[in-house]
Amino acid sequence: MSIKEPTFDIDIPARRPGIHPLALLSKVSEGRYWAYFLILPSLILVALVILYPVLHGINLSFQELRLTRPQNNGFIGLEHYRELLLEDKVFRIALWNTAIYVGGGVIAQFIVGLVAALALNKGGIVMKAASVVVLLPWILPSVVAGNIWALMLDARLGVLNDIFVNLGLLPQYKAWFADPATALPATMVISLWRGFPFFTLLMLAGLQAIDDDLYEAAAVDGANRWQQFWAITLPMLRPVIVATVVLRVIGLVNAPDLVLLLTNGGPGYATQLISLYAVQNAFTDFDFGYAGAISVVTFVILMIFTALYVRITRASQE
């Protein structure tokens, strides 16, 4: 159809000469390709900024690509993977730290998040106001969260040090991020502070969707609150719990922000995580190929975890 051809569509007033762009769009909206037209821009953008780069990144992991030593660049097959999985001691430490950071982190965040959601679910104006306060840390930027806690745990000025000393829990102020034994746990506390509201948010929504009749029926049958929690609340929350745990694991594995800001992996390798290790390889050493291999391994681990986790939770449900 040429642009100058007159149209007699009922939606377009005849007084308009030619085809107005909006009128053309209206016409497209009546055609059979309307749905594709709606999603096409997103498909193009996702292909350009996500799928193409990711394929490019996977390809990089089979290449030697260092900006600092361009003469060696080229295809090297699985060499990076061999080095990473068989020889790299730092990667092994980072993998172990990540397991603790993510595993311990998710469990702690889940428990605190669930307890908060159960309390908030009581309802009422007080609890509504409280829910805004409880959710606040979740929307704060990592930079501010890092600064806040760095100040509170500071070895000279930290208010938490002062409180602990006054309560007799500590003999003197402590440099939490300088001691390899406390650096990772301290980081995990900050991660808990920022992360538990996510669980609260989604589980609160899950709790509100549970029918009150179920509890009344259980009460009539003589079940106490503890029994009701195990027999009704937890099973009903199950889909929400599965979804939030998966999302949170993915989020924690992929986010090097906090350690990047607070410790850069130190002291020694005490807070080295695989996400941070990949960032350091990419943007400190400019070893793009190796960073690519670390990312691909991370992705594979996440896929395997998600598949297993969903399968296990599904099996135990049946």
Binding site: I39, I50, V115, R156, L202
Partner: protein, 279 residues
């Protein structure tokens, strides 16, 4: 123990629990605000001051007038605006398409948009950095905004789809019987009804872009494009920024976030829940 006293005990327990958790959540934020109001001399004393004995706004003046700080804020505002424009325009259309129409590949594409969230950040940052450098988008506002769409567009689509799903299609059918085209039904019926969802999604996308640190650190390298999280982090490292000014800088940057979040919190919760739980 009678049922009545038992209920009261549980109620009491809920309030005690929530007060403890609120102290945990709010304590660090309150401490930052208190620190930002103290003169530097009172922050670095040997005897810790819990409440500021002298209140001053010098820290706010100092950080605001610091060279480059206002530029950081305006850079962040521009990048946030661009990210919002791209995500909301493209994301809203796509979400509406997914919500209303069945077509070949629909479920597969939705699944891909979900799996994308599993991609490690570095897997995307490195190649994206190489690509943007070769097309000249590195160190530009638009380039950074485009990089943000990698994780915000799929999220935006899933959230908005949840809001559109909640609007009965019968309303559009009625409008179409009255002679509306699909396009005008979208603009006259659906979008006005989804207004709350649109605002909540926009606020969430905006906050995420405003707060983002890692991409901004890698994709900007000069004062002309650096955003405030990067600038603030660099000030700490390079200039040994005093704690008072640092706290004030943090407070200035999170005030808009907290206000917006407070306003749209309820709608936001609904949208996130719809997207995340179904996913």
């Amino acid at each position: 123990m009678s049922k009545h006293t038992s209920d009261q005990l549980w109620s009491l327990l809920a309030y005690v629990v929530i007060i403890v958790i609120m102290i945990f959540s709010l304590g660090p934020i309150v401490w930052t605000v208190l620190t930002s109001l103290k003169p530097e001399a009172d922050i670095v004393t040997s005897e810790l001051q819990y409440l500021p004995q002298r209140i001053t706004f010098d820290n706010y003046v100092a950080i605001w007038n610091r060279s480059g700080y206002q530029r950081l804020i305006s850079n962040s505002a521009v990048v946030t605006f661009l990210t919002l424009t791209i995500c909301m325009l493209i994301g809203t259309l796509a979400a509406y398409g997914f919500s209303r129409y069945q077509f070949r590949g629909r479920n597969q594409i939705l699944m891909v948009y979900l799996i994308i969230r599993m991609f490690p950040v570095v897997l995307m940052i490195v190649p994206l950095w190489i690509i943007m450098r070769s097309v000249g988008l590195l160190n530009t506002h638009f380039g950074l905004a485009l990089a943000y769409t990698t994780f915000l567009l799929p999220l935006c689509i899933w959230m908005m789809k949840g809001f559109f799903d909640a609007i009965p299609p019968e309303l559009e059918d009625a409008a179409r019987i009255d002679g509306c085209t699909r396009l005008s039904a979208l603009f006259r019926v659906v979008l006005p009804l989804a207004r709350g969802g649109l605002v909540a999604t926009a606020v969430f996308i905006g906050i995420s872009a405003w707060n983002e640190y890692l991409f901004a650190l890698m994709f900007t390298n000069s004062q002309n494009t650096q955003t405030w999280p990067v600038g603030l982090a660099l000030m700490v490292g390079e200039f040994q920024l005093p704690w008072g000014a640092l706290s004030a800088g943090g407070v200035i940057s999170i005030v808009p976030v907290i206000i917006l979040f407070g306003i749209v919190q309820q709608a936001l919760v609904r949208g996130l829940t719809a997207g995340a739980v179904k996913g």
